[in-house]
């Protein structure tokens, strides 16, 4: 069992693969702190992966693709909010409906515009530094830039939650009663948070398409968005731990993928089971008290 865990190839894959999940987890975490359950994270990941790849291929610029991923993610996050609050679907239904629509739309467009496949090819994101010669160090150093960006975003988020606007965001999720008493415009805060969440997730989607898988297919996200939701819980809503949790999931998945031993491959389910255990039995699994309490926005 441990042979595989000792190889550089394993960890390199695991780290790269963890990055889209990490971005999605950070996005979901941000939305969650503001009180929105970002069920549409999977849809956002998918949609932004598609847009990022299309823009990159059409423009010839990888980074333009990443930018497009960010922007499309932002839009999708906002749409999720609109469906949930303005159309009063609630977080869960909104996220799931978004998923259906994005799956359909991207599937349709990719088959129409790229019947021979949509691939990054040479545009794929490559390692940041030249090889150091040391296998272990290479695992960390030769990751694409965005991998480090995920960590930076996590740290930035930790800092953000200690600022004045950060406290306002937290209040919207932790206590609607108090937020209301302190005249916090909760709906607006949640829209803003979902936009930011979408943008962050969008970068993850871009990386998924341009840095991990390199192609776009209908099932390219394969549940990573929901895995991200689990990461948020396992990390007890702490950004840096969420990145670690993403690595945990990715390692479990990579292991299952690379190993020949079937029984150990079953360990893939461990993170999911752990999440359930945490929400049922751990105080840390509580999350922002007023998360998911549906807001309905009534127009004037």
């Amino acid at each position: 069992m441990f042979d595989l865990l000792g190889t550089a190839a394993f960890w390199s894959s695991a780290i790269t693969g963890a990055t889209p999940i990490a971005f999605a987890a950070l996005g979901a975490l941000f939305a969650s702190r503001s009180g929105s359950l970002f069920v549409g994270v999977e849809a956002t990941l998918l949609g932004s992966a598609f847009v990022a790849l299309v823009v990159a291929v059409q423009s010839g610029s990888t980074w333009l693709g990443v930018l497009a991923g960010l922007l499309s993610g932002l839009v999708l996050g906002l749409v999720n909010g609109l469906l949930s609050m303005q159309l009063a679907m609630g977080d869960v239904v909104a996220g799931l409906v978004l998923q259906i629509l994005v799956t359909g739309a991207t599937g349709l467009l990719v088959a129409r515009w790229y019947p021979n496949g949509l691939a990054a090819g040479a545009l794929q994101l490559g390692p940041s530094w030249p090889s150091t010669g040391d296998g272990a160090l290479d695992v960390v150093v030769r990751q694409p830039v965005l991998v480090y960006a995920a960590v930076v975003v996590a740290v930035a988020m930790v800092a953000f939650f200690r600022t004045a606007p950060g406290l306002v965001v937290r209040a919207s999720g932790d206590s609607l009663r108090v937020a209301y008493a302190l005249r916090v415009p909760v709906a607006r805060v949640r829209y803003a948070a979902l936009s930011v969440a979408g943008a962050i997730t969008g970068v993850g989607g871009a990386f998924l398409a341009l840095g991990v898988v390199g192609v776009f297919t209908t099932g390219v996200t394969s549940g990573r968005g929901f895995v991200a939701l689990a990461c948020v819980i396992l990390a007890a809503w702490r950004p840096v731990l969420a990145v670690v949790a993403a690595l945990l999931f990715s390692a479990a998945y990579t292991y299952g993928f690379q190993t020949d031993d079937a029984s150990l491959a079953a360990l893939q389910v461990l993170p999911y089971v752990l999440t359930i255990v945490v929400i049922a039995f751990s105080k840390a699994g509580r999350g922002p008290a007023d998360e998911g309490k549906g807001l309905v926005v009534v127009g004037r």
Binding site: V97, L108, G223, G292, K293, G294
Partner: protein, 376 residues
Amino acid sequence: MSVDIETQASTDPAAEDSSARRAPAVLARFAAPIGLQVLAFVVAIAVSLLLVAALGYDVGAVLAAVVDGAFGSAHAVSSSLTQAAPLVLTATAVWLAYQVGLFNVGGDGQLQVGGLAALVVALALGDLPGVLTIAVAVVAAVLGGAAWAAVAGLLRAYRGANEVISTIMLNFVAATAISLLIAGPLRSPSAKYTPRTDRVAADAQLGDAVPGIPLTFLVALALGVVTVVAVRRTSIGLRLRTIGLNREAATHAGLRVQAMQWQAFAVSGGLAGLAGGLVILGYRYYIAPGWVPAWGLLGIVIAFLALESPGLIPLWAVVLGIIGAAGPAIKGAASVPDAITTVMQGLPVVVVFLVGALARSGPGRRLHAALSRKPE
């Protein structure tokens, strides 16, 4: 914008309602009568066709493919209804859980566990007469789905664990476990390239009751009707609904809220499990990767379309089933990617809620008031 917040402060961890509870209920006030549903369907199809046209495809060919694929022959009708059968059950499952204020997002997982149970039983009892095999397999499917849901239900009722998260996680566990099983212990010796299981014996396979009408659809329909009638017309159903509508009042009235919640959730899972069993016995006959095309997810969509009028569940199931079944035909006849069917399936619910939002808006309210002032 003025914000209408509905919150509930409670010290009981299991008293938190999932976000589903309140928001769609607002729509109910501006209820979704049949007219609106038809409108939703028409608009959804229209938008989809517009999309198809914008992408340069032949709209006429698409329509022809759908109609043909749906009604063209007894076989076509049968295959549409075959697709509709699991949708009826998963939608009813979600609807039922919602009646007690819970959100069952685990339809896919429960369906898969149910299907697996049915398959295993059917293969194991291969020597017995078909009828017996089918009966036991069906029971196994129901129990499998119920057990899978009960995990989440119990944790929610007694520990306050958010059932949306736990059922989503369980979906993944089920999917992973099954994919490992079909590649391993359950792998059929005759599966050369892709892993899959053995087929269910021919005499245990369910076919059409009447040419064009699959037995699985009739069973699903029957159970859907029974469930809805039970909830709406019996005393137990009334108690379940009370729990969903006002948990506090239910507690004050002396109802055993936690017990009823997890049990209803388990029944919900049983319905989804049954869907899986019927899929195995009446459609797939074996398990291979990709054997479940998001029936659970679509079930949720249907349930929310038909929330206040659950009688519409079978109708929407058939409609979405037809669309789903038309996928290959559309691809073949009009060369349109079958992803268009997914878009078609997702739009109606957006339309319905959009109308609800418009009705709640300023101009909408004024219109509604003006219309209501008509003499009866």
